[in-house]
Subunit: 117 residues, 2 copies
């Protein structure tokens, strides 16, 4: 068993093209021997956003704080603390900060290609 | 893409032997076509707890609110908002409310036996 706090994990700036003001912390993945899926913590600064992109694996997202907007090809949805978002494989998406404070959320992805369709 | 709020999902009492005062909501699983892992929301009432048990799949837990205690065979750890807990397959564990308010957390599990070791 591994017990920690998100603030114990060093945050890293997401350098992917199209990202702005995004910090990632991998809470549970290879660091704890997680075999099937990886739980990451994201903070998006005011005005920031993740890339608008698609990839062949899904996201399961739970919003922790702040006000955000989830963009998709045909529009966008407002989200806040307690919102959850399922993004299927291959669907375009981006997460934007839509408020004055930090927008933070958890995002779970498969850990290995063996788990990808 | 599916966007919702945890309060939109009907809670169900966990009836498993050894559980007391535990409400579960499956936020993302078969309901949204999630292929690999299931994200569940738990509320544990004051004085309540999940069963002390083990099973052949892992947990990835993130604490949302309240004060809790994670029991394992050789002791226990205190947790609160922002704590995360990785429980490997086959390790005994229980989550107890250790405070006066509701203790709530997210818990991710593999969705299919194909993802179990």
């Amino acid at each position: 068993m591994h017990v920690g706090c998100w603030t114990d994990v060093e945050g890293k700036e997401v350098a992917e093209a199209g990202a702005a003001g995004v910090t990632i912390r991998v809470l549970m993945g290879e660091n704890v021997g997680a075999p099937n899926f990886v739980l990451r913590h994201f903070e998006v600064a005011p005005g920031g956003h993740t890339p608008f992109h698609a990839h062949p694996w899904e996201h399961e997202v739970y919003v922790l704080s702040g006000k955000g907007r989830v963009k998709r090809a045909d529009g966008a949805a407002e989200v806040g603390p307690g919102s959850f978002v399922f993004v299927p494989a291959d669907e375009e998406h981006a997460f934007e900060n839509a408020g004055p404070g930090v927008f933070s959320f958890l995002c779970v992805i498969p850990s290995t290609k063996a788990c990808l369709r």
